[in-house]
């Protein structure tokens, strides 16, 4: 995934919800958008987002509130072995 964000492992984003944070991320790096959400804006089922170690599926999904100090982990599935 870092391929789409100039090889950075961490990107600063702004927003008060996860959805807004993703919007900010994809505004900064448009080519990553299709790898995270589909055409309807729904999270791809092979990508997981964690806010401070908790999966957003167990919180409020993309509407999960976030604060400035929060860390969002974007985790795609990998299969190498």
């Amino acid at each position: 995934m870092k391929y789409y964000v100039d090889d950075l492992l961490e990107v600063q984003v702004t927003g008060s919800t996860v959805s807004q944070a993703i919007t900010d991320l994809t505004t900064q790096y448009p080519t990553i958008r299709t790898h995270i959400v589909d055409n309807q804006g729904k999270l791809r089922r092979y990508v997981n987002l964690f806010v401070n170690q908790e999966n957003i599926n167990n919180l409020d999904g993309l509407d999960t509130s976030i604060e400035e100090s929060d860390k969002i982990i974007l985790m795609p599935s990998i299969s190498g072995g």
Binding site: R45, Q53, I73, S79, G80, G81
Partner: protein, 384 residues
Amino acid sequence: MLPNLTREEILRYSRHLLIPDVGLEGQRKLKQSSALVIGTGGLGSPVSLYLAAAGVGRIGLVDFDIVDVTNLQRQIVHGSSTVGLLKVDSARRRLLDLNPLIQVDAINEPFTKTNAMRIAKSYDIIIDGSDNFPTRYLSNDTAVFLGIPNVFGAIYRFDGQASVFHATQGPCYRCLFPEPPPPGLVPTCAEGGVLGVLPGTIGSIQATEALKMLIGIGSSLVGRLLLYNALDMSFEFVTLRKNPKCRVCSPEADIKELIDYDEFCGIPGRDVHDGSAGNEWDITPLELFDVMKESNPPLLVDVREPHEQQISSLPGAINMPLGAMASHLSELDSAREMVLFCKAGTRSSRALELLVGAGFKRVKNLKGGLNAWAKEIDPTIPVY
């Protein structure tokens, strides 16, 4: 009733016996236990080596591949002396050299829905060392239906993931990933590369988790996922929870037996590993060589990563990496004949599918890629 240890075993495992948490009883548990390792590659190598060293009584190895020299950069259970041998035989030889007191079952079969339950049912634990999504889902579902743990590990370039999926205690793999990515979206290690030592790190963690479960000590990774990055040496843990609607392990499960995993993962029936896009879309190296002499030759499109061009290339080729192709289609002239190529023909086959899906018709795939070109046309080009 746990088996007794022989004097030879007591001597061999003395460093385990000295640990209070393991001791004689723990070692006897290991002697009695059995572990099935799916894949004897990057992950399977360190996992099987450490389980053998630890004295797991019976280790099953499942693989249907042959040792290749490109494996030796990371698959440390094999060696130059076993290139060309069946991987399971090569690994078995090494494991029994390390520890002749255990039993090693070499299962030279692909792990499929037809044989998975039969193979796995006599083992206490599954360790997923596979390298593709269909097998990962198969390993998961098999473990769920058998009620045994599935020790998960996955790698790519510098990133590793590890967890223990045990549906009777926590989430399964499908709770985390209900669906696989579309085929071709996530590169394999053959396509994207992997730091050789990376599976050593993740595989060792898998072996650690397996041993802890078999002995019954410590806190396992059930309910947690380790995210490891070798570049910044970071270890992050995220919480995993059971999906109350999981199709396999929840009370609402509608999948009650193994399914067609290739179909589930969208893998076509044909073998994309041979670098072919299908006869009507392929062009062989010899055919391309002839066509390039014509007055209006096709455009050569290199779909590899830019850094790979330093290893080998074809004159006049433009570079458009597969991962970025979808957003650069407008740069390609659909009226022009094009030949797509990559290292071995796999990525270029996928690129061809992408272009054909976008309406391109005058496009071909260089069958077997640059490696085939090197073999048939220009041996000065390095194969990798």
